[in-house]
């Protein structure tokens, strides 16, 4: 019990101190509360939005958009990454193009997204997709490339077929790195949400933050920002759990 308490203390003390610092800065007039409201007034704003259900509508829509973009991105980037990691020639050809894509700002591409996908739901998920692709793709490539050649050679010398080789050797060995990529992508997805929902949205957390900022409804704005942070932390937490689960399976196999 005490061990649990101690771990809880270790994990929460920095966060608690951060909020206490924030609150006292605003409360004792060190910064103008117009710019940085007290934590309590932000919580009040969040509570009001929870009571009316407004907050949950924004959260649901945002989760739908990011979830769709993220899942499609993973479904494309992981298989593509495995292919590119395995067929080195393919990687040599495609890598320069991918590097250009990866380093092109999503915000700067808004006109292209409008042109291709319009202003509807598709374009928002497409932006999330674009941002999510790269971390998981690059991590998958390096994960597959980094599999110990000794493992592959010894498996091959036993006359293993290619599909089994992937299933038994390459995937398990590359998995930790692939999962890291997926987690990075999930983080990017939540961050890009704000940008995506500037595009033709009238609901969603990103839109809400943008709108609150325009209205100078500053406590509402911070409530939205903190909600996004909490969502990001939760998603990461779930992915870590999933990773541990899969990693456990891997341990038994090896």
């Amino acid at each position: 019990m005490t061990a649990k308490l101690k771990s809880l203390y270790t994990k929460s003390i920095a966060v608690v101190l951060f909020f206490v610092l924030w609150d006292s800065l605003a409360r004792f007039g060190l910064v103008d509360t117009f710019l940085l409201p007290t934590v309590t007034s932000m919580a009040e704003a969040a509570w009001e939005m929870m009571k009316t259900g407004e907050l949950f509508i924004h959260i649901a829509l945002s989760l739908k958009r990011t979830g769709l973009g993220f899942l499609v991105a993973i479904c494309v980037s992981v298989p593509l990454g495995i292919l590119m990691g395995w067929f080195q020639k393919l990687e040599e050809y495609l890598d320069p193009l991918l590097q250009i894509f990866r380093n092109t700002s999503v915000l700067a591409l808004f006109p292209v997204f409008i042109l291709v996908f319009g202003l509807g739901e598709v374009s928002k998920s497409a932006i999330v997709f674009w941002g999510c692709m790269w971390p998981s793709l690059l991590n998958t490539i390096s994960g597959v490339k980094g599999v110990d050649p000794l493992l592959i050679k010894s498996a091959r010398s036993m006359g293993i077929s290619v599909p089994i080789l992937f299933q038994k050797v390459i995937l398990p060995a590359a998995l930790p790195e692939i999962m890291t990529g997926i987690r990075l992508s999930a983080g990017v997805a939540v961050i890009i949400l704000v940008a995506a929902e500037m595009l033709g949205a009238t609901r969603g957390l990103g839109y809400f933050i943008f709108y609150a900022q325009q209205k100078y409804a500053i406590p509402d704005m911070y409530a939205g920002i903190v909600t996004i942070s909490i969502l990001g932390v939760l998603i990461n937490f779930l992915l870590v759990k999933l990773e541990n689960h899969i990693a456990a399976w891997k341990r038994y196999q090896v």
Binding site: D32, T33, F34, L35, L107, F110, P111, I114, L115, G118, L119, M198, L199, G200, A201, T202, Y207, F210, Y211, Q213, Q214, K215, Y216, A217, I218
Partner: protein, 334 residues
Amino acid sequence: MMKKFLSFFTDIIILLLIVAAAADFSAEGASEPKLQKIRIPDMYDPTCLYLPYIADSLGYFEEEGTKAVFTGVIPAGQHVAAVVAGTNDVGAMHINRTIVGIAGGAKLKVVVAEAETTKEFPHMEYIALETSDIKDPNDLSGKRVGVTSVGGCNEYTPYEWLKKAVAIDDPRGKFEFVIVPPGNLEVALRTREVDVIGVHGHPYDIFERGGVKVVFDDYDVWANVGGAAPYYFREDFIKKNPDAVKAFVNAISRAAEWTNEHQQEARVFQAKRLNLEPKQVAVLYYVADGIIKPETVQMWADLLLKYGEIKKPVDISRVYTNEFNKNARDKAQK
């Protein structure tokens, strides 16, 4: 070798920095008497004429006894925050944002008028493709209107246009707003993602590319009252530096008067400063005496309340004052 070179290089840079700092320091010490500095944001839209540039080019700030320091571009939505945070002393932009900021607790005061809507120079225009069938307010229902943000003039100008012609209580929901990131309105219109776009001022470049028409503007809705975009200061700055504020108000009203009479020269001033062609700079009509008219403030305070953007009524005497304006004092004495 490389390492040596690098360290030599950094030494040089540090030396230069020290020299520059010393030079800056001595220059500051030398200028007597010291004028109170006013930090002014640069214009976020270089194609729209900006009176502080004109006042600066004509030397009005020094003549009136202050010194303008331009601090770089700040997005329209962040002007109030920048002034409250103290990174700037003056903010501008349309009056509705200022009122919302003050209602939200920003300690600001509007002190001098800038541009105002005239038939020739409206604050906002709503533009459709030439082939569009939108002609009168009735045609707007069920359409998609692209704006860069909702709230304020973007949202309420079409509402009131619709209300003026069609007797309805609440124009909300009769047509759909679509938020389009700044700079992407034209794409959205030309790809028919939206039927109408709301823009500030007259977009000469869009019209040069052709195929578009103005459906209505804010002059059609409110005549002269709608488009005021006066300047404001932080209240504690006003308290500490009333003379600098007076000087700023005088400089701006003189620049306004001069610009109305010398539009072409004003264009050239700004074009030279921002490296543009003079024809790219759009000139509006400016309030020559700088006096803020109560009705231009009251109308927005009422609209913001009506559409729920502010929760409680705002006493407009809290929003603006003409007491730093010499012209207003002269008028009152007459």
